[in-house]
C-alpha cells in the first residue's frame, strides 16, 4: 500500500475540499421544516427566510377569499395563522395534515405552496391510525 499512500492522502484531501465546497453551496437551497411550536420558540425565525411549516388544519378556521385561503394550523400545542395564496387543493380540508412553504412575519405565515401530507398509513378522521381490528371489529 506504500506505493499508494500519497494517492490516498491526496484523494481524501480532494474529497474533503469538494465536500466543503458542495456543503457551502447548499445554503440557499436548504428548506427548513418546523412545527408550529418551533416557530414560536425559535429566537429569530423571521431571519430564516423561507421554510416549511407543518401541522394540522384547525377545524372551523378556514376562510377563503378571491386570492387564496386563510386558516390555522396546530401541532396540538401552538396554533398559528396561515395566509395562503392560490386555490387550495381538492384534498385540503379541516383536520388534515398540511405542509405549507413560505415566510413568517411574526404573526402570520405567508405561504404560496401547499403540500397535503401523504403517508402510507391509513388515518382515521381524527388523525389516528387505522388497524384492521379498529376498522372491522369482528362480530
Amino acid at each position: 500500500m506504500r506505493r499508494y499512500r500519497w494517492f490516498i492522502v491526496a484523494g481524501l484531501g480532494l474529497v474533503a475540499v469538494l465536500t466543503g465546497f458542495l456543503v457551502a453551496n447548499i445554503g440557499a437551497d436548504l428548506v427548513y421544516y418546523r412545527t408550529t411550536s418551533e416557530v414560536v420558540d425559535e429566537t429569530d425565525p423571521v431571519g430564516k427566510g423561507r421554510f416549511r411549516l407543518g401541522g394540522q388544519v384547525v377545524p372551523g378556521s378556514i376562510a377563503a377569499d378571491a386570492t387564496g385561503v386563510q386558516f390555522e394550523v396546530t401541532d396540538g400545542v401552538v396554533t398559528l395563522e396561515v395566509d395562503h395564496r392560490g386555490a387550495p387543493q381538492q384534498l385540503f380540508r379541516e383536520g388534515i395534515g398540511v405542509v405549507v412553504e413560505g415566510t413568517w412575519d411574526g404573526s402570520t405565515f405567508h405561504s404560496d405552496s401547499m403540500i397535503i401530507k401523504h403517508d402510507e398509513q391509513y388515518r382515521t378522521e381524527d388523525g389516528g391510525v387505522y388497524t384492521p381490528d379498529s376498522r372491522f371489529p369482528s362480530p
Binding site: M1, V23, D29, Y32, A87, Q90, E120, R135, S138
Partner: protein, 654 residues
C-alpha cells in the same frame, strides 16, 4: 395454515442460506473441489424456501385470508386481481419476500455456472448465502410477513392507494429489484476474488453477464419509476431528486462506472483494484437505498413505515462497509494491477475520465441525499435539500459526461495521435455545428439546452460515422455488413446503442425542464381558456363508482386553433378506507410536447374546476431514450461467447 406453510418456507430458506455459507467456505478451504455437489442442496433449498414463501403470500392474498396481518393491511375483497397480486410487494414485509426470491434466483443462476474446480464460484455463493441469511433472517423476525391476527377481520384495508392507482405498480418494483439484487452477484465475486487473492480478470469475465443484466433491469426500474411519478403522482414531474429516487439512481451511477471500467480491465488489465472498490460500493449503495426507503429516516413521497427493519439494515450496511472495504484494504494489493496508463489521451484515459465523473456524480447525489440526516443528527434541524442544488451541481457534470461519451468511443487504446482523433471527429463536428446553428435559428436561446443538443448530436454523429465507416470496410453489402457489425461485437455496439439512448434522454431532460410551463386555470362548465397556444374547454364534471374506488373528474377538450386534439379526463380517485384522494393527471402526448392536466380542485355543485395545466416539451423522447438504453444493455448481454471467438477479427474503433 397458509401462514404456517409460508413461515416454514422462510425457515427452510434461512437454514439453506446458513448451509450455503458453511459449505461454500468448506469448498473454498478445499480449493473448490466438488463444489457443485456440496452446494446443490443448499441452493435448491434456498430457492425452494423462497418460492414457498412467495407462493404462500400470493395464495393468502388471492384467497382473502385476513387472518394474516399483512393481507388484512394490504388487501381488501374489492381490490382488483392485478393489484391483489402486486400487493405481495406493495408493503415492507412483502417487498422483502420478493427481495429474497430474486436473490435466490440469482443464486441458482450462479450455481449453474459453477465449474468443476471452482473456489471463486463456491466462495461467491457463500457470500450470496451470507446476504440471504440477513434477508431471510429479517423475514423470520422483524419483518415477518406471516404474522397472524388473533381476531380475524371481515375485510382488509386494501392496497395503498398510490400503488393501486396504476398498473406500473405491478411492474416497477420487480424490475427495480432484479437490478438492485443483481448487484449482489458482482459483489460476491469481487469478495471471492479478494479472499482468494486472485489478481486475474477471471471474476470479472464471469460477472460481466450478471452485471449487465442487473444494470439493464436497474435502468428499466429507474425509467419506469420516473414514468410512474409523471403519470400517477400528479405533481407534474418525473424526477424531484427525492431521496427514494436518488436511492435507485446512486447504485445506477456506480454500476455504470463499473461496466465501463470493467472493459478497461478486460482489455488492458488495468483498474483492477478500482473495479473491486466500485462493486463493493455499488452493493453498499443498494443496501443504503433500501435503508433510506424502509427506515422512515427521510421524508419522502413514498417511503415505507418506520420499524425494526431500519436499524437492522443500517447494521447490515455498516457490516458491509467495514467488512468489504476492510477486506479490500487488507488484500487489495493482491488484485492491484501493474500496467500503467501509457497516455491520458487514449481510450483508457477517456474511460478513466468517465469513471471519475460518474463517481463524482454519485458522490454529489449521495451528499445531497444524506445531508439532511447528518444535519438532523447533529443540530436537530429538519431540512430538505432543494432540487435547485442538485440541478446546479448535476448539470455541469452531466454535460462533461456527454462530452466524454462523444469522444471516448473514437479515441484509440494506448495512445491516441491527434491526427487520428481529428480525422474521426471532423465529420461529427460538422454535423454538430450544422444542428447547433439550426436550433439557434429556430429560436433556442438557453445556453444549457444548446450545449446539451450540441453534445448529444456529437455523441450520435460519432457513433453513426463509426458504424458507417466500419460497415463500408466489410466485404458484404452495406446493410448486411452493418447488421454483421452489430452481431460481431455486441459488447461494443450495445454500448453505442445505450449511448444513443442517453443522448436522447439528455436532450429530453434539458428541454422538458428548461421549457416547461405551468398555469393554474379555474373554469366553470362550458367555459374555455387559452393556454400557451392551446385552447382548453371545460365540458363537465363527472363521477362514477368502481369496485374499489370512487372517481371524480372533469372532462376537457383540447384544441390548437380550431383543430381538436384530445379529450382529457384529469381525475381524483377516492379509495375505500383512505381519507385522502389520489390525483390522476391526464396527459396528451404530442411530437413536440405533452399537455398535462392535473386536477387541483373540483366543485361538483357549482361546476367550478381548478386545474394545473402544464406543458412539457419532448417528453416522448425521454421514455424512448430510456428504453433505448435498456435495449443497449440487453444487446451487450447477448452472444458473449461469440465475442470471445471473434476477438482476433474485431473491428471496433475503426
Amino acid at each position: 395454515m397458509i401462514a404456517l406453510v409460508g413461515y416454514a418456507g422462510v425457515l427452510v430458506a434461512l437454514a439453506s442460506a446458513v448451509a450455503l455459507v458453511v459449505q461454500g467456505v468448506r469448498s473454498y478451504l478445499d480449493g473448490g473441489a466438488g463444489a457443485a455437489d456440496r452446494l446443490r442442496f443448499p441452493v435448491w433449498g434456498l430457492i425452494g424456501g423462497a418460492v414457498i414463501a412467495m407462493g404462500a403470500l400470493e395464495l393468502a392474498l388471492l384467497t382473502d385470508d385476513f387472518s394474516i396481518e399483512y393481507v388484512a393491511r394490504n388487501h381488501a375483497r374489492g381490490t382488483p386481481l392485478l393489484f391483489t397480486i402486486a400487493s405481495a410487494w406493495a408493503a415492507l414485509e412483502g417487498s422483502i419476500v420478493l427481495w429474497g426470491l430474486v436473490l435466490a434466483g440469482y443464486a441458482v443462476w450462479v450455481f449453474r455456472s459453477l465449474e468443476d474446480d471452482d473456489p471463486i464460484g463456491a466462495t461467491a455463493l457463500a457470500v450470496i448465502g451470507a446476504v440471504a441469511i440477513f434477508f431471510f433472517g429479517l423475514m423470520a423476525s422483524a419483518a415477518n410477513p406471516f404474522t397472524t391476527l388473533a381476531v380475524v377481520p371481515a375485510d382488509g384495508l386494501g392496497a395503498n392507494p398510490l400503488l393501486q392507482n396504476h398498473i406500473l405498480m405491478a411492474i416497477h418494483p420487480p424490475m427495480l429489484y432484479m437490478g438492485y439484487v443483481g448487484m449482489t452477484v458482482p459483489f460476491a465475486f469481487a469478495i471471492a476474488a479478494l479472499a482468494a487473492g486472485d489478481g486475474t480478470t477471471a471474476w470479472l469475465e464471469r460477472t460481466r453477464r450478471w452485471a449487465l443484466v442487473a444494470w439493464s433491469f436497474l435502468t428499466l426500474g429507474v425509467v419506469l419509476g420516473a414514468w410512474w411519478s409523471y403519470e400517477v403522482l400528479g405533481w407534474g414531474g418525473y424526477w424531484a431528486w427525492d431521496p427514494v429516487e436518488n436511492a435507485s439512481f446512486l447504485p445506477w451511477l456506480t454500476a455504470t462506472a463499473f461496466i465501463h471500467s470493467a472493459v478497461v480491465q478486460r482489455r488492458r488489465g488495468m483498474l483492477q483494484a478500482w473495479n473491486v472498490a466500485l462493486v463493493i460500493g455499488t452493493f453498499a449503495l443498494t443496501i443504503l437505498g433500501t435503508f433510506l426507503t424502509r427506515s422512515g429516516v427521510v421524508a419522502s413521497v413514498h417511503s415505507f413505515t418506520q420499524s425494526a427493519v431500519g436499524p437492522a439494515l443500517l447494521g447490515f450496511l455498516i457490516v458491509i462497509l467495514i467488512g468489504g472495504f476492510g477486506l479490500f484494504a487488507a488484500r487489495g494489493h493482491l488484485v492491484a494491477s501493474t500496467p500503467r496508463l501509457d497516455s491520458l489521451a487514449s481510450r483508457e484515459g477517456a474511460f478513466l475520465l468517465n469513471n471519475l465523473l460518474l463517481t463524482l456524480f454519485a458522490f454529489v447525489v449521495l451528499l445531497g441525499t444524506i445531508y439532511p440526516m447528518i444535519l438532523e443528527a447533529f443540530t436537530g434541524d429538519r431540512v430538505s435539500v432543494g432540487p435547485p442544488w442538485f440541478d446546479r451541481t448535476a448539470i455541469p457534470i452531466g454535460l462533461v459526461l456527454l462530452f466524454a461519451m462523444g469522444i471516448g468511443p473514437i479515441v484509440p487504446y494506448r495512445a491516441a495521435r491527434a491526427s487520428v482523433v481529428w480525422h474521426r471527429l471532423r465529420s461529427p463536428l460538422q454535423v454538430t455545428a450544422v444542428v447547433s446553428a439550426a436550433v439557434v435559428l429556430l429560436g433556442l436561446r438557453s445556453v444549457t439546452a444548446l450545449l446539451t443538443v450540441a453534445l448529444a448530436t456529437l455523441v450520435v454523429a460519432a457513433i453513426v460515422r463509426n458504424a458507417h465507416v466500419s460497415a463500408k470496410a466489410r466485404p458484404h453489402g452495406y446493410l448486411r455488413s452493418l447488421g454483421g457489425l452489430f452481431r460481431a461485437d455486441p459488447g461494443f455496439w450495445g454500448g453505442m446503442i445505450a449511448h444513443t439512448g442517453v443522448a436522447l434522454v439528455a436532450v429530453a431532460i434539458s428541454f422538458s425542464s428548461s421549457f416547461d410551463t405551468r398555469t393554474e386555470i379555474t373554469l366553470s362548465a362550458g367555459e374555455s381558456a387559452p393556454f400557451d397556444g392551446y385552447t382548453l374547454t371545460y365540458v363537465a364534471p363527472f363521477a362514477r363508482e368502481e369496485s374499489n374506488r370512487v372517481v371524480i373528474g372533469a372532462e376537457f377538450e383540447l384544441y390548437r386553433g380550431t383543430r381538436h386534439l384530445a379529450t382529457l379526463h384529469p381525475r381524483l380517485n377516492q379509495y375505500d378506507n383512505q381519507v385522502q384522494a389520489i390525483p390522476t393527471p391526464a396527459v396528451h402526448t404530442g411530437l413536440r410536447e405533452d399537455v398535462y392536466l392535473s386536477l387541483v380542485r373540483i366543485e361538483q355543485g357549482t361546476s367550478a374546476v381548478t386545474i394545473d395545466a402544464m406543458r412539457f416539451p419532448l417528453m416522448w423522447m425521454l421514455w424512448l431514450g430510456g428504453l433505448v438504453v435498456v435495449a443497449g444493455g440487453a444487446w451487450s448481454f447477448t452472444a458473449k461467447r461469440r465475442t470471445r471467438d471473434l476477438r482476433p477479427a474485431e473491428v471496433s474503433g475503426v
